[in-house]
């Protein structure tokens, strides 16, 4: 895979943005109908969100239609691997913290995150992870005294 050149895809920005707004409007609108509406004088919990969803839906439609005829533009986007690694990194930290403990969670999260940098050698990745484990432990556990277990429940005997 070519990691030198940035990845570009053709996108009609207005249409996609309008569709996203419309999708959120429908989502929020549908959920709000489940709450009591009340009246204008005594608004229930559903009144205001439904109102906002309506306006958002109209804006979304308008943005999409206004941009319908514009040609699609070439848009530079982040590579899917990098996207996944960066988004999954905080989740991995949340999932591994309790069972494996702080140190292991930091190392794993850092390793996952650095996979997003295509031309980094594995040695550099491992060194970064170890350095961050030491640095984070020093700052957050020793200096700030945040009560997180250094070793997780699975690693203790």
């Amino acid at each position: 895979m070519d990691t030198q050149n940035p990845l570009t895809i053709p996108v009609n920005k207005d249409v996609v943005a309008g569709a996203i707004f419309l999708a959120f409007a429908i989502g929020f609108g549908l959920v709000s109908t489940a709450y009591p509406m009340g009246s204008a004088a005594q608004m229930g919990p559903g009144y205001y969100p439904l109102l906002l969803s309506g306006v958002l839906g109209l804006l979304g439609l308008f943005i999409a239609f206004a941009g319908w005829r514009k040609p699609a533009a070439q848009m530079v986007v982040v590579r899917p691997v990098a996207l996944l690694c960066v988004l999954a990194a905080p989740l991995l930290f949340a999932l591994t913290l309790r069972p494996l403990g702080f140190v292991a969670a930091v190392i794993l999260t850092s390793l996952l995150a650095t996979v997003a940098a295509p031309r980094m050698s594995w040695i550099a990745r491992i060194l970064t992870a170890l350095g961050l484990a030491l640095g984070c432990t020093a700052i957050f556990i020793w200096a700030l005294g945040i009560p997180l277990p250094l070793l997780g429940s699975m690693l203790r005997f």
Binding site: K13, A41, L56, L59, I63, V86, A89, T114, G135, I146
Partner: protein
């Protein structure tokens, strides 16, 4: 003299050893993160927010203010030395500052930026002291309709912050308003949009929201290109500007301060617009306009003073009305609420020490920047040459640990990822995050005042036009909206942002 008493109370609060220490740490940390290429003040504050939670409200706000000034100064440093402005407000500085650096005058540019910022900060602090009390007295007389109209005006004006389509910015505001509603309904307690998750009852974790929207999405943008490339850093030699340089800068510094002080108060103004305006003004006034873009020191002095003055006076609407004028102030309001303080006109009377202490610390923060950041410039330069490969995993981890430790809730980190993705996609589609953040912060307040006003008027929306103040605010909002949509103004706005 009441004003003097207030200032003394402020100095007393800010000058405690503890508060001075945290203001200093804030300035240093703010510069440390803010100096990283591509990390702007809003992102810096969002990333550093969790570490202030353990402190008492005054101290944490003072530290945040320190972080803000540090971040802003760090951003200017990056703009001057590597031509990579972190946020729009320092984009202007990069034009002439980077040219100066290439000509070996990086030291002068950095020094003038610091001196200009200090002078601007000092004058703007006085502006805040003088204008805050009358404004909050006025705001105390606001009823629900006036408040509703004021928030609408603030939100509409925040559209001017956004670069690009007005419709998209409006949609971003409403999307923010909707996300701000997640949690228990204020009147009935019925959970809304929580999907049965108890930790969402208090709303979406603000830090997770801001970190995802700014921090994670920015990392994704930076990873579009191969991040292992190294940026070229010009090393500054000598840190003192020469006497002729000083003389050329005094005028721009004072004019920038005036311009920034006025524009900072306007919702949607803040630091960005004022630095653009100052640059344009200096170029028009200069006897040598051809030097602009080739390393004119006035092109650094004016905008840098303006953006610092604007940064300072943008605290006025935040502190007196509880309405943030820009993304940074929205985060400040979020921080206040996390500390259990409802921002608004009553803060000055119920929490005078916090209010005046914060204002005093604005000035102290500026002194620290001048005395500390300038001599430390060598360290910032070293930091700048660190490859991004080592930077971004650290940023991800620091924010993950910070957010997790505030609530010990893994779901918050899921929200970070979610808003990171949403923010990245929306920014790619030319939808800017600032109006989204403003809507998120103001959503609950807008709903509360709308429902209360409608209850008092028995469901008659004419109540918003009944009082002259409320009607006036809505009229200004309507005019602003129409002006922004008119093609002539739109072109002008486009020009300001691309210049």
């Amino acid at each position: 003299m009441e004003l003097l008493d207030n200032v003394l109370l402020g100095l007393e609060t800010a000058m405690t050893l503890q508060n001075l220490f945290y203001c200093l740490v804030g300035c240093l940390l703010g510069t440390l993160i803010g100096v990283l290429p591509g990390v702007g003040p809003t992102t810096t504050i969002a990333l550093l927010l969790p570490i202030t939670f353990g402190l008492d409200p005054s101290t944490s706000l003072i530290m945040l203010a320190g972080i803000y000034y540090g971040a802003q100064y760090g951003g200017s440093t990056t703009a001057i030395l590597v031509n990579l402005p972190g946020e729009a407000s320092s984009a202007v500085t990069a034009i002439d500052g980077y040219k100066m650096a290439q000509k070996g005058k990086a030291g002068s540019a950095l020094a003038i930026a610091a001196i200009g910022s200090f002078i601007a900060g000092t004058i703007a602090t006085v502006v805040v002291v003088v204008f805050s009390p009358p404004l909050s007295e006025l705001a105390l007389r606001f009823g629900p309709p006036e408040y509703f109209s004021l928030i609408v005006l603030g939100l509409i004006l925040s559209v001017t912050l956004a670069n690009g389509s007005v419709l998209k910015a409006l949609a971003m505001i409403i999307l923010g308003l909707l996300f701000g509603l997640v949690g228990a309904d204020i009147y009935t307690g019925i959970p809304r949009f929580t999907f049965g998750e108890p930790s969402l009852m208090d709303g979406i974790n603000f830090v997770a929201f801001a970190t995802g929207l700014y921090g994670i999405s920015e990392i994704l943008s930076n990873l579009e290109q191969d991040p292992s490339r190294k940026s070229k850093v010009s090393k500054p030699k000598g840190l003192l500007p020469t006497w002729p340089e000083m003389k050329r800068s005094i005028g721009p510094i004072l004019r920038g301060t005036g311009l920034g002080s006025v524009m900072g108060v306007l919702p949607g103004g803040g630091a960005t617009l004022s630095s653009f305006a100052a640059y344009t003004l200096e170029k028009k006034l200069s006897k040598h306009p051809e030097e602009f873009g080739e390393g004119a020191i006035e092109g650094v002095a004016g905008p840098e003073s303006a953006n610092n003055a604007g940064a300072q006076t943008s605290f006025i609407p935040m502190l007196t009305l509880g309405i943030p004028g820009n993304g940074v102030m929205a985060i400040m309001i979020g921080a206040l609420m996390i500390q259990g303080i409802q921002p608004g006109p009553s803060v000055m009377t119920t929490n005078p020490a916090l209010f005046w202490g914060l204002i005093a610390s604005m000035w102290i923060g500026n002194v620290m920047l001048l005395l500390l950041n300038l001599p430390l410039v060598g360290i910032w330069v070293k930091l700048l040459s660190t490859p991004y490969n080592f930077m971004f995993p650290a940023i991800i981890l620091f924010s993950a640990i910070g957010i997790f430790s505030t609530n010990m809730n893994g779901l918050d980190l899921g929200l970070v990822a979610m808003f990171g993705l949403l923010g990245y996609v929306l920014i790619k589609l030319d939808c800017e995050p600032a109006p989204f953040l403003m809507g998120f912060i103001l959503g609950p307040l807008l709903e509360e005042n709308l429902r209360r006003a409608m209850m008092f008027s028995r469901g008659n929306p004419a109540t918003f036009f009944a009082s002259p103040l409320s009607a006036g605010l809505l009229a200004v909002a309507a005019i602003a909206l129409i002006l922004m949509i008119l093609p002539a103004v739109r072109n002008q706005r486009q020009k300001v942002f691309t210049e």
